[in-house]
């Protein structure tokens, strides 16, 4: 069964991977998803960013529901 995650990238994350929206087939928890993202986009290894699943920030490791919307949210410092 296909499980397509809808990924939205923000700020530096979008800039580094050159995309702000993408789809990714994936099964597994949030830690596995993060690892898969770093394999697909090694340029993200040097960045700190927070994951949100279906518009909720992930604390620790969490289940990723099927066809979830994932946001990759880096911090901004500018003012």
């Amino acid at each position: 069964m296909s499980n397509t995650l809808h990924i939205k990238a923000f700020g530096m994350v979008a800039e580094k991977i050159g995309l702000s929206d993408l789809s990714m087939d994936h099964s597994g928890d949030s830690a596995e998803l993060l690892a898969a993202l770093l394999v697909k986009f090694p340029e993200l290894k040097t960045l700190k960013f927070t994951l949100a699943i279906n518009k909720k920030i992930v604390n620790g490791n969490q289940e990723v529901p099927e066809n979830a919307e994932i946001a990759l949210l880096p911090p901004f410092s500018g003012g």
Binding site: K8, F10, G11, M12, E15, S20, T46, L47, K48, T50, A52, K55, K56, I57, N59, G60, A71, L73, P74, P75, F76, S77, G78, G79
Partner: protein, 358 residues
């Protein structure tokens, strides 16, 4: 008819909302791209007392977004210039000016007399410093930040079960990880929009009107004209790197924490001994107890950076000092010159050795 007539007649805001604003004391950190619109709207809305913290002076490149300043203000302090502008405009607001940057030394004194803090600063060390001070002093914090075409806004530390910045970003990014406006450029309208959202959140918190972005963060993208709201929940990890008390806050080095010096315990350090590693005491001569062992180098921090060439050939370096602060500074300095070297600081310094191995 008062100058607040049009908001007093607003259903739900009323005289009470206005009185709440009049009683309120708000401290703004940073009178730059975010701070200028924040000040314009808080002053117009009739906040009773506004404090402005900024040690920076007006530069010509600021003028595309820092709309309170003009060509005649170049070189002048921003906090003083902004307050002067409003003093000529409204007679019913008290102003307090701090023409200096916020630090662990002055933060408590600046913040404690205010009801609400607004962070419009422009760097990570200050953002974590302001967040931690607000958590420790129990002050709500309106947060906003921008990156190129995007902004983020939230209200931290408001009431019970409130989240703070570290619940969103527990680990500090390094200063070099995310470039600032000076490096990437910015259209002046973006800080205008984000600053206005921050002013709106401040007015909501202070007046009791509307629903503040508590435990939520709003992202806005100016190029795509899109916003995205995400829910935050308290994160156990967020407490790990936060000072536990005001006493430990006062000795935090936020610049250093953001640079991310790698730290080792004495046990971890001992396991590396004998390998090809330079072991360096950066204490000044005469500090006790002296440590003597083969291969130990003594390079007091006061002799930096002149003596750093002594470490030119070492690929892996371990610094220690009395309490673990100066050794982090040493590591930080050396890492800047030699980014490829593996450099560590021993956590807690000699003091930690005495307690753990006595």
């Amino acid at each position: 008819m008062s100058r607040f007539e049009r908001q007093i007649i607003l259903n739900g805001f009323g005289i009470e909302g206005q009185q709440n604003l009049k009683k309120a004391k708000v401290l703004l950190i940073g009178a730059g791209g975010l701070g200028c619109p924040i000040l314009l709207y808080l002053a117009a809305a009739g906040v009773g007392k506004i404090g402005i913290v900024d040690g920076d002076t007006v530069a010509i490149s600021n003028l595309n977004r820092q709309v309170l300043y003009g060509e005649n203000d170049l070189g002048k302090n921003k906090a003083e210039t902004a307050a002067r502008y409003f003093q000529g405009k409204y007679s019913d607001i008290k102003w307090e000016v701090f023409p200096e940057f916020i630090s662990v030394e002055n933060a408590q004194e600046m913040i404690s007399g205010y009801d609400l803090v607004i962070d419009g600063s422009d760097n990570f060390p200050t953002r974590y410093l302001v967040n931690d001070a607000c958590v420790l002093l129990g002050k709500p914090l309106v947060f906003g930040a921008i990156y190129q075409h995007e902004g983020q806004v939230s209200v931290f530390n408001l009431g019970e079960n409130a989240c703070n910045y570290r619940d969103l970003y527990p680990k500090m990014p390094t200063a070099t990880e995310v470039p600032n406006c000076a490096e990437t450029g910015v259209l002046g309208v973006l800080p205008g929009i984000i600053g206005n959202l921050m002013a709106l959140e401040a007015i909501k918190v202070l007046s009791g009107f509307g629903k503040p972005l508590k435990n939520k963060v709003l992202f806005f993208n100016s190029i795509a004209s899109q916003s995205y709201e995400v829910e935050i929940t308290p994160n156990p990890e967020s407490r790990e790197d936060m000072p536990a008390s005001l006493t430990s806050f006062e000795i935090m080095d936020y610049e250093l924490a953001c640079e991310g010096v790698k730290q080792l315990t004495w046990d971890e350090a001992m396991s590396k001994m004998g390998l090809d590693i330079a072991f360096v005491d950066v204490r000044e001569p005469g500090e006790l107890p002296p440590l003597e062992c083969t291969g130990l180098m003594k390079i007091p921090l006061s002799t930096f950076p002149d003596k750093l060439d002594l470490l030119e050939d070492a690929e892996e370096i371990l610094f220690f000092c009395q309490s673990g602060i100066r050794s982090q500074k040493a590591a930080q300095q050396l890492q800047r010159d030699y980014p490829e070297k593996r450099i560590y600081s021993i956590k807690g310094g000699i003091n930690a050795l005495k307690t753990n191995h006595s």
